[in-house]
């Protein structure tokens, strides 16, 4: 057993209000510079929809992540084999191009001040941030925002493939039209295909916290990682010639602060905490059939209260402080204790360490002679009558395993019914105890889920690992004492253009 500590995340989608504050918090700090304009380390997508870059989930096209070799039962990169890896350095047809992202633009704002007097009002036209030439804007990083019921975008969401023709058509009618939001950052995977794909060895997982980083000094800009990442969360900087990605704001984590996208999350949907996992078992765990992947991933995550695990973790250099953080981790509660947070597209087999609590959506409607009614069969929304079919959510969060998704939704609903009955006792208690049984939740657990969902303070949402930087700075030619006096001196050089 090789126990590692990973800073992990939960996004509670029922709470997501789709505001994109997270995206801007990230953009302002990290990617507001030439070469990075089109990068959105954090973005938010409307589902059903095609996302950013367009149709990123279509691995038939982009060939991201791992595939299971049926014969060897081993994982292979989908993006490159031993043979074509070298060739693809020079031409990779599966790599997203600017047309899959968008051409970043700005406006000729200065014309509003400088236009000479004419016979009509001046206006600032859009121009490319790359060429400076006028552009026609046809795509953007959030092009299908709030576009439920779009025949162009929503309809092409590949997760709808499993739906019946009727169900699909209804998504564009009043009965079922619906949407949800999916915020995305790098998953800081435990089995990252980007690391495996990098020909320069520039990508690594940090030992102390599992954050996946691209060394800007080593990266040669081959972009193999861009292809290999199935979530398309690595971007190529056209100015520096290096690839960049979400760094989970490690300078903030190192100083005891939540990452920007977490701090700025106005829906309070984000949770961050440490998980312990068995690194030895990671690749094998990702070789099981699709429907078993969620359970398999759970089996790799370890119980931080188990004395045996604690002992082995200590032996592996994980501090008591860190273990204590893992015990208080809100992520552990959601993922392991309550089992209501699930990985996104676990079938990509990268073992993403970001988990999502699926949303509860409004009930379906029905039309009778043009008059609208809701398909109500309970006080709140119900499992069967949800506007987005379970099948769809299962494609996103459980590799198609509907049972897992149903169990999550049942538990979430049982908690709401329970709380309602505690608050004003106007619901049938027999019904509520049946729902709690079916949702596999006790009153005590329901209270805990409620409290962490509705009431958490910043310190309860983000149980930050105590990153002891003095240890990270200790090496033969570097020590904390020197750092204390010397760090920050000198002019900073940006990474030089690579390959």
């Amino acid at each position: 057993m090789d126990i590692r500590a990973q800073v992990s995340m939960v996004f509670h989608l029922d709470k997501c209000i789709g505001c994109h504050t997270c995206s801007v918090a990230c953009k302002n700090t990290w990617t507001d510079r030439p070469g990075a304009e089109y990068m959105w380390w954090n973005n938010v997508e409307t589902k059903p929809g095609t996302g950013f870059p367009t149709l990123w989930e279509d691995q038939e096209h982009y060939k991201g992540g791992w595939k299971l070799n049926e014969k060897s039962r081993k994982l292979e990169l989908r993006s490159q084999g031993k043979v074509d890896a070298f060739l693809k350095l020079f031409y990779n047809p599966n790599q997203p191009g600017l047309e899959d992202y968008y051409e970043p633009w700005t406006y000729k704002y200065a014309d509003l001040f400088d236009a000479p007097e004419g016979d009509d009002q001046p206006t600032a036209i859009p121009v490319s941030q790359i060429t400076g030439e006028p552009v026609e804007i046809k795509a953007g990083p959030n092009w299908d925002d709030d576009l439920s019921g779009s025949t162009i975008y929503a309809e092409n969401d590949i997760n709808l493939d499993e739906l019946s023709e009727d169900e699909r058509e209804q998504l564009f009618e009043i009965e079922r039209v619906s949407m949800m939001y999916l915020p995305r950052i790098c998953n800081h995977c435990a089995n990252p295909s980007c690391v495996a794909a990098c020909p320069s060895g520039a990508i690594y997982k940090r030992g102390e916290d599992g954050i996946v980083l691209i060394n800007q000094d080593v990266c040669k800009g081959w972009r193999a990682c861009v292809s290999a990442c199935p979530y398309k969360k690595i971007y190529y900087n056209w100015k520096t010639g290096k690839s960049e990605k979400c760094i989970l704001c490690y300078p903030k984590l190192e100083t005891g602060q939540p990452p920007n996208c977490f701090q700025s999350c106005v829906g309070r949907i984000r949770y961050l905490g440490v998980l312990l996992f068995d690194a030895d078992r990671v690749p094998d765990a990702m070789t099981v059939p699709d429907h078993a992947l969620v359970e398999s991933q759970r089996s790799v995550i370890l119980d931080p209260f188990d004395p045996h695990i604690i002992e082995l973790a200590r032996a592996n250099g994980i501090s008591d402080e860190f273990i204590y953080a893992a015990q208080r981790s809100p992520v552990y509660k959601y993922v392991m204790k309550w089992k209501i947070a699930l990985p996104l597209h676990v079938e990509y087999r990268t073992m993403p360490m970001l988990f999502y609590v699926p949303p509860l959506l409004p009930v379906m409607g029905k039309l009778d002679n043009g008059t609208y009614d809701n398909e109500v069969d309970g006080f709140f929304a119900s499992l069967d009558k949800s506007r987005l079919p379970i099948k769809y959510l299962a494609r996103l969060f459980s590799a198609g395993n509907e049972e897992i998704l149903e169990s999550v939704i049942k538990k979430l609903m049982a908690v709401r019914y329970y709380k309602r009955s505690m608050e004003i006792e106007d619901l049938d208690l027999v019904l509520i105890s049946r729902m709690m049984r079916e949702g596999n939740v006790t009153p005590q657990e329901a209270e805990e889920i409620y409290a962490l969902t509705a009431l958490p303070t910043v310190d309860e949402r983000f149980v930050l690992p105590p990153l002891q930087r003095e240890e990270a700075m200790s090496s033969p030619n570097l020590d904390p004492e020197t750092c204390r006096g010397c760090s920050g001196f000198g002019c900073h050089d940006a990474p030089a253009r690579g390959a």
Partner: protein, 1249 residues
Amino acid sequence: MAWIRDIFAPKQRQWEDFYRNRWQYDKIVRSTHGVNCTGSCSWNVYVKSGIVTWELQALDYPTISKEIPPHEPRGCQRGISCSWYLYSPLRVKHPYMRGALIDLWRKARQAFPNDPVAAWQSIVSDPESRKRYQSARGKGGFRRSSWAEVNELMAAANIHTVKRHGSDRIVGFSPIPAMSMVSYASGARFLQLMGGVALSFYDWYCDLPPASPEIWGEQTDVAESADWFHSKFVAVVGSNVLMTRTPDAHFLVEARHRGAKVVVFSPDFSMASKIADEWVPIHQGQDGAFWMAVTHVILKEFYCNKQVPYFIDYVKKYSDAPFLVTLSKDKDGNYVPGRLLRASQLEATRQMENAEWKMLMLDSATGKLVAPRGTIGHRWQTRKGEWNLKLEDSITGERFDPRLFLTQPRAEICSHLKASAELAKEAAGKAAPEPVGAPATGGATTVVDDVVPVKFADFSEGTSDKVLVRNVPVMAVDTVDGPVMVTTVLELLLSQYGVARGLDGDYPYNCDDESLPYTPAWQEKFTGVSAGLVENFARQWARTAERSKGQCSVIIGAGANHWYHNNLIYRAAIMPLILCGCVGKNGGGLNHYVGQEKLAPQASWAPIAFATDWVAKARLQNAPSFHYIHSDQWRYDTNFNDICQVSGLGHGMASGHTADKQALAVRNGWLPCFPQFNRNNFDLVREAEEKGARSDEEIIQYVVERLKERTLKFSMEDPDNPESFPRVWYIWRGNAILSSAKGHEYFLKHYLGTHNNAIAEEAARDLVKEVTWHDKVELGKMDLIVDLNFRMDSSALYSDIILPAATHYEKHDLSTTDLHSFIHPFQPAVPPCWESKSDWDIFKGIAYATSEMSRQYLPEPLKDLVVSPLMHDTPDEIAQPTVKDWTKGECEPIPGKTMPNFKLVDRDYTKIYQKFISLGPNVRNNGLSVHGTHYDVADYYDKYMLGNPTETWDGHEYPSLKEAKDVCELILLLAAETNGEMAYRAFEAESRKTGIDHTHLAADVRSVHFTFDDLKAQPRRYLTTPYWTGITNNERTYSAYCQNVEEEIPWRTLTGRQHMYLDHEVYRAFGEHVPTHKPRPDVNLTRDLVKSSPDGASIVLNYVTPHGKWHIHSTFGDNLRMKTLSRGIYPIWLNDKDADLIGIEDNDWVEAYNDHGVVCTRVIVSARIPRGMAFIYHSPERTLSVPKSKERGMRRAGGHNSLTRTRLKPIFMIGGYGQFSYGFNYWGPQGVNRDTFVRVKKMTDKPEF
């Protein structure tokens, strides 16, 4: 791990400093944004190398209670994009002037080297030069100027205007002070010291819900968002909480997890719909019909079939339900509801003070008529201490139990109501029989259990003449004028709502009766929502309210409030709240959030903002009337009856042209009118003095005589006379020419005199009778338009002078909102960039330049006559029991009674600056007051001067207002919300009025006083005061009207109770005395498309402008961050099937046009949008990516308000009657905008820019 090696090695990781260096910063400064978003979020602004680099939300809000979610983080995607502006190419860095004007000015200054005022006069009085720069407005050609040059020009224009036209031609517009109250105060203070005019905003933006003054006598008072968490049932109506209440939305989501049910009513599948348990795709603008039917069900099932003690007790005490309504017999033998029965009508009570303003109830035990405490008559009587909600006879002081029903509640059998028989049995068993009345004291006898046929108008078919006759239980009362039939408000409402309770008449046979209002089946044809849904909703609602004691709430917003008949929609939705005891409860009530109107420390801020610390009377104008009249939109308007159904009573206010109603409103003192007269005000006073008037009274009498003989008119009676024009317009903190300008193209035409795309024909010529019609009008009324701005927005682009203003990160200020109960600061993270200055410093500079120049031109003090309407919260509100027009000889013109108030004040133009920077003596000598409750501050005023900056001039010392930070400090010191001693004194004063001791609400906080430094350290939660109706003591969340309910403080209305019945004669004439439903006008009635002729490839759509996701009004929407996350443009949203009809695909270019103007933009196509509608999210700029319109001769297309016009509903013009009395941003018609239609067609050619 099998293949992957984690890296610990420090050496290999030294490069990590690359990103660490970016995160390093030099300073964090707490500030916020003032953009009228209601967020009022606390932000940390990061400064690195002296440059603002980014901002992140502060996380340190004080905890209200561990039982509710914390407030952190607050702040949205738009606010976090603010730092983009500071150094962007859109930043206004220097003073700019229109080239055409700068040339004229410099030339004129050469011609008049020592006389800048003559120079200005030479430009504006010469038609050619006037046209030269006016027609260049909006067409580029800006040139850099200097502060010295623009200040001199503005001073010259100010002085010229004062001398030539009168100071009330100088107007200013700045929206909603709470969002940055000192910045608002800067210009407002300058204007009032000048004798200029402040234009209102809350009503103009259509953010004011007139139902709130109608029912509660309150501008708006709502729960803070944290209070949603206590709700057990939330209906979201016309409000897109997730999109527009971004930092608050989590409380709603979290309330769901506590077990609240959320039902979202929205025609589109909105962001808020995503979190609903049930989404109800109700037809737009028809929400009223749904709620009427909900109330029908509640009245039938929870008031008649059974009775809920909690509901009954509540409406007896806190609503007008038990008051008696008189019924008068019509020609046809049927009855019509009239005024509430008054004490003045009975022999026994007619001698009471203010007897005409005291309304009566019936004692259920004795059958006697009782004048309960707490009515408006008690409020303004000499003897204080009787204005409270105790159910006590105000003559004997004895408690009594008012009677609600004149009949026994009778169970009805509603065929599909399974439980009804059961419920009936239960109700019959429980309800104690109410005794039949015995003769009351004082000779009034009562005969009970009779019924009479009463007429109820049914407007639901869009006509005015459909009348239903329904029997109503009544009793006869002997009055001084003989016997009068009366019934209770509740009985009248039961009949209005069609609850038959065994009575004969045009009642629906049951809930399935779709032919008669207001059954669930009836509402289907308006809402598209099934009757079954209404019934389920109503029952779940009422049961939740019964169980939770009123924890049902309605979150309501612009989607309901921006319609012409918004008051009816709101009233319909408020009825179930009142009837189920939800108002004044934590977790309950009507939560209207449209605009950041809650300026918490009002008492100390208002005298600074409106300069009443120096000048007793301010000139405050309701903007909707101002713009409707002065931008000449009335000329294109027809009689309002085209779109507004009225009852058959035939009242003068209920028919005709809106402009004529406005004229009457001005004459009667209902609404303000600035400019005041069609003459220079100073000339008028001078003339009076020359004619021998010595005292103020004689001058006023002279003016009244001229008005009476009609040789002098109010400007709004003759608005197109150049002597009535507004002349100089200051705009700051807002986007007055486009964002809020309903009828934007008419602004361009009539105010600015530049190109516009309106093609509507004038229509009022033969319709107006009281407003002077000029066949030809002079275009370009405004001599000068000045815009203070940090960005080049549409208003800046069309102004003559742009003054570079500090951003939210470059100034000191204060912010409060109704969405939370904290107050926090703006602070400069960096000094104002380039040549920009804070608003306070800019107006201080203009004041200085104007004062200095006045030494030459206006060296002597002048007497100024200030006209103001009959005001709410003063004895004016019992001035006019009936409507009478003195110009028709119906009464004498008596200032303050039958016409406006007149007051003479002194203006010394050489002292404008000194007064601007000094807190004047009126504050010290008169104390502070809000809503008529007053407290002294002299000791604090004096003490402040001991250790703080002061100004000394003319031998007197005053607290200094020179720096914006000093203004903040004084606001915090003297306001009850931020100084506990002031709160205590205010409650002492309130206690004297009510006769109940309320001081316990402030007893524990007398030593609390927040300073600016306190706010810098952490946002502070302001204190409970009588100026707001919630109670935040003991870890409670703020919910409106808790003080009324718990402290028995009356609402500031006619009866002192929540009004379900509105007895004003104009309300009866409009048929709006009872809650009712008037359908929205169709396209033909709106006259939006008379000249915009059909085109084969176009489609007619209802056009709405909901608040959007990527902007707060127009701010943030033009920055690169928001533009990138949306689609790079301000798109129009269409339904997919509608788009198919005209061959439009997603992202195509379209023209949307009507007679008022045109918009060219790209389209977004989605089934999320209902058919028949087009959305352009409020509010675009004309500055970005706007092509030329083929439809309008290849001229630059406009913005969202190019397609709207101002439409006023005259019912809101009445005054001098209880809660229907004027207050700035409290009462008056609003700038409604949703009853608008456009044609949309594809742009076939490549767009030209």
